[in-house]
Structure formats: structure tokens, C-alpha cells
């Protein structure tokens, strides 16, 4: 197919994306776009540095390979390079969505689904402003390498994402729901869930009062547990931050206790949802990686480069947002494994605390943050009045030890819009989730 030059490792990733975006805003069609995009990224490695070119002209791939070889330094034993030795040589076609390819669904049917959910919002007089997004995406990738890798696979999602604004005393509340499915037919029939959520949000907005700042025990919903796992620990498990840093290697040695004994955090690209990637963008097969097992640091996420540098195994986490970017170490679907309690039991154990039902965003360095969208006081073991909170913070390494309860109820969440950002690459589709989780000593403002 391509003439790979001697003395280098080379791989080529071709991407073909079919995507539809429909937007209805307060009953008016604002966008109805169907597109097909094709692009290619070529990487060439000389044992010291990567030379990479991304292009929208597939006919120029060979020319680009030769051009990159001209910039690199010939390496006669490239096959003995530790990074090159790490690469899996998978040869497989895994087209999971071939028989339900959403790009083959007529646009009129997609528009009709969006209109169904628009009708729910239109019917509610207390919503002055709303949007319904319909988005779908079918992506097919083909990765070949000079080492013999040749994999073709696809990913797909179909989503309806209603967004609405409620007003109380001239103060807006932003409500949202993501209906995220793999198959188009599964998008229908969720109107009742949306109506229930709107009722809940109206009640919240009507009654929410500013929180009294302080330190509280908090109970996270599965979605909030997911963003906590992703932000507080997931990013620290991305091994590219550790390469060439002896102190990090010592501090983050596998086997170190980092959290409470009941805590297990997993990352995997094998679960269907917004973190599903059967192969990563280097052609490595997806794995299930325990980041924390029984509170002990058990693994981290790798590209071939970082796995070679730390002498660990590949995990299938080299990902890029599109053909315009090189793969870097990223999460896929990251979640806390469930425990044995019920949500009610967790709440019953709190005299004065806060239940975080939903969030706007989160972040995680040494201090993690969660900006809640909806939260409720817990008083004497029961949910009480709704409260408005700017931000919840805690020191990551202390907080992981402060988890003292996990529910058996579990949810892995997928997201229709947005995604994870790292360096210049945003948004990358990821999944996150977990059980209801109780955490002590969090700062609430």
C-alpha cells in the first residue's frame, strides 16, 4: 500500500467521519448539517523524535512519508528501539456498527426525532429559552504501520441533547439532558425522562438558596463520582506526565496506598459509550486497566512511548481528537467500581451534608474542583432544601482517603456534547461514572 522507508518506524492513520448536527432553537430550525470528512495523519519515528504530518489530501500520503523521512535521521536498528518493540501488530477488521450505520439513516428521520424532544420543551410554559441538539457521528479508522499493524474499526454515537434555561427572580438556571445511544432506533421514547427532569429542575430553581460556605460531607451522584474519578485521579494516571521524572516515579510507584480500601478506579475502552475505542490511535487493542485496586495504586495509562519509558505494558490509551493531532495518553471510560450500600443508606449516615446531583464542570490538579449544577442539603439523614454552590474543592491525595461509602447502584455516563481537554486537544469523547459515593471533609463555597 505504502512504501515505508527503511530505518524508521512509520504509521498512517486514515479517518473517515460522517456526522450530522441538527439544532432547533425555540422552535426554529437553526442548523441541519450532514458532512463527510476525510483526513490522514502520518507519523515517522527515528528513535529520537517523531516527525508528523496531517493532511486533507489522501493522495499525498506517500509524498508526506518521504518528506518526513528527509527530516529524520536514519536509524539502522529501529526495530530494536524500545518504543517500536512495544507496538502490537494487530491485523483485524472490527466494524461493529456496519449494520446500523447512522450515516445511512435519512436526514428527515433524524429531524423528526429532534422535533419530538423539542415538543416536550415547547409544551412547558416556564421555559423561556431552549435548544435541542441532535448529533451523530460514525467514524471509521484504518491504521497501518511499517511493523505490520493493519486494523480497521469504527465507532458510533447518536444523541439528542435538550438544553434549556429557567428563570427565577432574573437569575437563570441552565438545565440539560443527554440521551446518548449507539443505535439510532434507541433514541426514541425518552420523553417522560425529560419531562420528569424539567419538573425536578423547576422545583430546584424555585427553592434553591445560597449555600452556607464551610466543610461538609458530600454524597456524589454517579455522574459526579465519574467526573471526580476522571479529574482527581484519571489525569494523574496518564503516564506522559511521568516520563523523565524520577520523583514522580518514586511517589507514584505501583503498590502505593493512595486511597480508602473500598476504592477501585478503572479505565477501559472496551465498554460501549462515549469512551468506547476498540483500538487506540496507535493500533493497540483496548484493555481494562485498574488504576486503583482496594485503595492501592495498581496501574496507569500508556502510549507505546510512555510504556517503553516506564517499562510497563500497553493499555490502549494513545488517542487523538482527530487526524489533525498526534495521539497522546488519554482516558477512555473511567469509573469507580460500585460498593454494597444503597443511596439511601449513604444519605442516612450524614447528619449535615450536601448531595451533589449534577455538575457543570470539574478540574483536577493537586486540588480538584467540581462546580455543581444542582445540589441539596442533607439534614439528619434526609435530603433537604436545594442549595446553590460555586465550587467544591479538596486536596486529591487527602480526599481519596476520605471516601467511606459506595452504593451498589452504578451508572456509566456518556456525553453528547463537549468532552475532555488536554493540552491543545479538545474535545475528546470519554465516558465516566460510578456509584453514589460519600466523601468527607470537602470545602464548599
Amino acid at each position: 500500500m505504502y512504501q515505508f522507508p527503511e530505518g524508521f518506524y512509520t504509521d498512517v492513520r486514515e479517518e473517515t467521519v460522517h456526522a450530522t448536527t441538527i439544532t432547533i432553537e425555540n422552535g426554529v430550525l437553526k442548523e441541519n448539517k450532514t458532512k463527510k470528512e476525510q483526513g490522514v495523519i502520518i507519523r515517522l519515528y527515528d528513535g529520537r523524535r517523531w516527525y508528523i504530518s496531517s493532511t486533507t489530501e489522501p493522495d499525498k500520503v506517500q509524498q508526506e512519508i518521504d518528506s518526513l523521512a528527509g527530516m529524520a535521521v536514519f536509524c539502522p536498528n529501529i526495530e530494536d528501539d524500545p518504543v517500536v518493540k512495544k507496538y502490537e501488530v494487530n491485523q483485524e477488521v472490527q466494524l461493529r456498527y456496519k449494520d446500523c450505520d447512522v450515516s445511512l439513516v435519512p436526514n428527515a428521520r433524524k429531524l423528526a426525532v429532534a422535533e419530538q424532544y423539542a415538543d416536550c420543551l415547547k409544551a412547558c410554559e416556564k421555559i423561556p429559552r431552549w435548544k435541542v441538539y441532535y448529533v451523530d457521528n460514525h467514524t471509521r479508522k484504518h491504521i497501518v504501520s511499517s511493523k505490520g499493524c493493519d486494523v480497521t474499526f469504527d465507532t458510533q454515537n447518536c444523541c439528542v441533547a435538550p438544553r434549556y434555561v429557567l428563570m427565577k427572580d432574573e437569575k437563570p438556571f441552565y438545565g440539560r439532558k443527554d440521551i446518548y445511544r449507539m443505535k439510532f432506533e434507541e433514541l426514541k421514547g425518552h420523553e417522560k425522562e425529560l419531562e420528569e427532569l424539567i419538573r425536578e429542575d423547576l422545583a430546584y430553581n424555585e427553592n434553591a438558596v445560597p449555600v452556607e460556605p464551610g466543610e461538609y460531607t458530600c454524597i456524589f451522584s454517579p455522574a459526579v463520582t465519574g467526573v471526580f474519578a476522571h479529574e482527581s485521579f484519571g489525569h494523574k494516571s496518564e503516564a506522559d506526565f511521568m516520563v523523565g521524572d524520577e520523583n514522580m516515579k518514586r511517589e507514584w510507584a505501583i503498590g502505593t496506598r493512595v486511597g480508602a480500601e473500598l476504592l477501585n478506579i478503572v479505565d477501559t475502552g472496551m465498554e460501549e459509550g462515549s469512551g468506547y475505542v476498540p483500538f487506540d490511535d496507535e493500533g493497540t487493542r483496548a484493555k481494562k486497566t485498574y488504576l486503583i485496586r482496594d485503595g492501592i495504586l495498581s496501574g496507569r495509562l500508556h502510549s507505546a512511548m510512555t510504556a517503553a519509558a516506564l517499562n510497563e505494558e500497553l493499555t490502549g490509551n494513545a488517542r487523538a481528537v482527530s487526524f489533525q493531532f498526534e495521539p497522546i495518553v488519554r482516558m477512555t471510560a473511567t469509573y469507580v467500581e460500585p460498593g454494597k450500600s444503597t443511596k439511601e443508606e449513604l444519605i442516612a449516615g450524614v447528619e449535615k451534608g450536601i448531595y451533589i446531583s449534577d455538575y457543570n464542570h470539574g478540574s483536577g490538579m493537586s486540588t480538584f474542583t467540581i462546580a455543581p449544577n444542582k445540589a441539596y442539603m442533607i439534614r439528619d439523614g434526609h435530603l433537604a432544601e436545594p442549595v446553590k454552590i460555586s465550587v467544591i474543592t479538596g486536596n486529591v491525595m487527602h480526599t481519596l482517603h476520605e471516601i467511606d461509602g459506595l452504593s451498589a447502584e452504578f451508572e456509566l455516563c456518556s456525553f453528547a456534547l463537549g468532552g475532555c481537554g488536554k493540552m491543545e486537544q479538545f474535545p475528546l469523547r470519554v465516558g465516566m461514572g460510578g456509584p453514589y459515593m460519600r466523601v468527607n471533609h470537602l470545602t464548599v463555597q
Partner: protein
């Protein structure tokens, strides 16, 4: 029927930095083309990667059948060309050839003229600067990105409009980590300029990194050294838009038009300090921002004030919202290259107060925020955020690294009684700096 083409190009040399070394060299050459047709109150759009061709225009015509309403008119008879990329390269060349350049241009002396066509000279420069930083700061690890970008935006149609903009940027976005730290990163060293000047960059980097290596405690707002007329408040130095998200969200014409803005019913009222002005910035001050929006709209003098001298003037609106709700078109349409243009929250800034950062801070101690992540406003306009990395600013320079702390304030105080100003000098990171008195603790 009016036919229009909208073409975005990005050519880039993108260097990944790991452990202070260039780990990858990425060449990008991306063209995104869209064809649009306007007919009888509807718009048809079709896009593709690569150059536009006749088939793309045919597809746009076909897409009129999707019946997407577009009541506004296509921009007619507007012609302007602004090639800031070529100007930047000319400036580099002239200054390199003329060692007796005027004082005002002295900062640009020794500027390298980089082009994406010749990545080797850019690579060499970055490598040499990294070597200097590594040698001088062996206890620090540098990573992330350095980028040379040449970008352009071209909009033309058969109603006589032909608008072209290009720009050239050199951006350093280095994550900094201490070898003894267990954080993923500790600090962020950034610089975005049209012409890269090694000496200027290193001077600022040394001040920043020396301060980083000097841990000190938070100043006491009540101490005599930092007299504060505002109680337990300290002057905080930030990027101009670091606290602007709430304003942008609530100045959207869509929010105003539907009555869902925090500022409903307050148009024409003085809500903020008289020194505070907030505007759409399509001037050359805003790196990489074209003077026209995705609908071909422009602003007089490339600026349009939404808040002037503390008075709320208008929401921001694209053509469609302006027509629907009777607001002024503020040239704020944007979106993906192949989308129907829509009102977008980009290219806003706070007007400079005409004083340098040092003048704004005066004899007080200031707090320069380098990394602040995770905070937010509530619907009441109350802001709170942890500050992960900050420095003490004293006597016109950064002198030491502060421990982590929180800042908080209300929108009406932040840009009202507690607003100090925006510097007229690009004191750090190639940008003007906002100074606000905030509660720190």
C-alpha cells in the same frame, strides 16, 4: 440567490515538548472550505476539507431544501484585506536588517523570521531556548507545546464582498514542574506574539521562574505594607477575560431577547465602575482574530462597546439575532466552517485603563495569578475559585510563589467598586493584565 465562499486555512509547525526536549515535530496544512447560498429567507451550506469546488456549491444549493431560515441579508459590497502575517514577516526582516531601528521597535531586535515553509530555523530556535532554560533551571521540567501558525480567513460572495485576513503567531505554552513535586504540573509559562523575541521571552521567563523557586507566604491585607481601603481584599492580576465568562454568558442577545439574562431590564443603566468598558475586539490587538466575523460583518474601528464607562450599552448579536430582536449587529457570528454562522462568545476584552501594570498596583503588593482552574459563578453572580499557582507582585516584578488559596467576589463588585483597571502594557504573557481587588483566603 447569492452565492458565497468561506475558506479557513491553517498552516502550522507544532512542536511537542517532553522533559525539555522536542519530542515531535508536526506539520499541518489544513484547508476548510464552505459554500453558502442565500435565497428567499433561507440558507444552504455545504463544507469540505480541502479547496472548494463547483460540486460543493451545487451541494449548498441542494441544501436549501433543508429550509433553514436565514432572514438577514448576505454582506454586500464590502472589500478589505488585512495580511498581518505578511506584515509580521516584513517587520522581522526590516528590523533584522536595521540595527538602528527606532527605540519603540527595540524589543523586536534580534527577532527571528520564521515561516512554516522552513521549519528548521524555528526548530533550532526552540531547541536553543529550551537548552538555556534547562541549563539555568535544572530543578524544573518543561513540557507541552510551542507553535508557529499561519492562519487565514477569506469570505467572498457575488454581492461584491471580498474580505481577507491572515495572521502569524508564535505561541509558547510550557507546563512547568518541579522535580520534587508530585503534581502533574505546577505552573504555566506562556507567551503569544506575532514576532518572537528570544531576549524578551527569556527575561520574562527568568523573572517568572525565579519567583516560582522562591516560596513565600500570602501577604496580609491588613498589614501596613499592603494597606487596603476595601477590607480584606488584595489586588489580583489576571488575564483580561479570566473573570469575563459570566458577562459574556449574560450579554448574549439570545439571552436578552428571551428574557433569560442576569442583566434583563438593565440596558442603559450604570452597573459597573466608570473605568470599566467591555467590547467586541476585532482589532489587531487581538492575536489571530479576523476583523470580520463569519457573516462578513465588521465593527467601526474594529471595536464595538457592550459596556462603556460602566453603562450597559447593548448585548452582542449576529445578523439574525439583531434582526429578530432589534439589536445592533456586533460582528460576533462564528461557528464551525461548515455551519450556519451563529452568535458566538469569542473576541471580547476589557478596555485598557491607560496605566501600566505597575501604576495600577502602585505601592501595594499584588497577587499575580498564573494557574486558576475549576472556579465558577453562581446564578447570583457570586464567583469563587481555588488558585493553584500565584506569585507576589512587588515593586514592578514577580518576587515569590504563594501557597494555594481561594479568591471570591460578586460580579457587581469585581467590575464595580473593586475594579482597578486593565494595564496598557503587555506586562506578562504577551497580554494586557486585569487588576481587581478580591477577597483572598
Amino acid at each position: 440567490m447569492i452565492k458565497e465562499k468561506y475558506i479557513l486555512k491553517n498552516r502550522e509547525i507544532n512542536l511537542s515538548i517532553s522533559g525539555g526536549e522536542i519530542s515531535s515535530v508536526i506539520k499541518k496544512d489544513i484547508t476548510q472550505s464552505a459554500c453558502r447560498v442565500y435565497d428567499q429567507g433561507f440558507i444552504g451550506v455545504a463544507g469540505k476539507l480541502g479547496e472548494a469546488d463547483p460540486e460543493l456549491m451545487e451541494q449548498a444549493v441542494e441544501n436549501l431544501k433543508l429550509q433553514i431560515p436565514y432572514e438577514a441579508q448576505a454582506t454586500a459590497g464590502k472589500v478589505r484585506r488585512e495580511d498581518l502575517a505578511a506584515q509580521a514577516m516584513d517587520t522581522d526582516r526590516l528590523l533584522a536588517e536595521n540595527p538602528d531601528a527606532p527605540t519603540s521597535a527595540a524589543e523586536n531586535l534580534n527577532t527571528q523570521s520564521f515561516t512554516v515553509e522552513n521549519p528548521q530555523s524555528f526548530l533550532k530556535e526552540v531547541q536553543e531556548v529550551l537548552e538555556i532554560l534547562k541549563k539555568e533551571y535544572p530543578q524544573l521540567i518543561f513540557g507541552n507545546k510551542v507553535r508557529l501558525s499561519q492562519l487565514s480567513r477569506h469570505l467572498c460572495n457575488d454581492a461584491g464582498t471580498d474580505l481577507f485576513f491572515s495572521d502569524r503567531l508564535v505561541s509558547w505554552e510550557l507546563l512547568v514542574k518541579h522535580t520534587q513535586s508530585i503534581n502533574v504540573f505546577d505552573d504555566f509559562l506562556a507567551c503569544a506574539v506575532r514576532s518572537f523575541n528570544r531576549q524578551a521571552f527569556l527575561k520574562e521567563a527568568r523573572e517568572h521562574l525565579d519567583a516560582f523557586l522562591n516560596p513565600i507566604s500570602l501577604p496580609d491585607p491588613d498589614s501596613s505594607q499592603t494597606p487596603s481601603p476595601k477590607g480584606r481584599l488584595l489586588p489580583v492580576i489576571l488575564s483580561p477575560m479570566a473573570l469575563g465568562g459570566f458577562l459574556v454568558e449574560n450579554l448574549d442577545a439570545l439571552a436578552f431577547g428571551h428574557g433569560t439574562s442576569f442583566f434583563n431590564g438593565k440596558l442603559g443603566q450604570k452597573l459597573f465602575d466608570e473605568k470599566f468598558s467591555f467590547y467586541v475586539d476585532r482589532s489587531s490587538d487581538s492575536l489571530g482574530t479576523a476583523f470580520f466575523d463569519a457573516e462578513g460583518s465588521t465593527c467601526e474601528n474594529d471595536r464595538n462597546y457592550l459596556i462603556k464607562d460602566g453603562v450597559l450599552q447593548k448585548p452582542f448579536a449576529d445578523k439574525k439575532l439583531a434582526k429578530e430582536f432589534g439589536y445592533e449587529n456586533t460582528a460576533t457570528a462564528d461557528g464551525a466552517y461548515d455551519s450556519v454562522p451563529s452568535n458566538t462568545d469569542t473576541c471580547f476584552t476589557v478596555e485598557s485603563s491607560g496605566r501600566t501594570l505597575r501604576e495600577l498596583i502602585g505601592e501595594r503588593d499584588g497577587i499575580y495569578i498564573s494557574v486558576m482552574s475549576g472556579g465558577d459563578f453562581t446564578s447570583e453572580g457570586n464567583f469563587a475559585s481555588p488558585v493553584q499557582t500565584a506569585f507576589l507582585y512587588r515593586g514592578g516584578k514577580l518576587v515569590g510563589r504563594l501557597p494555594e488559596f481561594h479568591i471570591s467576589g460578586n460580579i457587581y463588585d469585581i467590575f464595580g467598586a473593586n475594579f482597578v483597571g486593565v494595564s496598557c502594557d503587555k506586562a506578562y504573557e504577551g497580554e494586557f493584565k486585569l487588576v481587581v481587588n478580591m477577597k483572598v483566603g
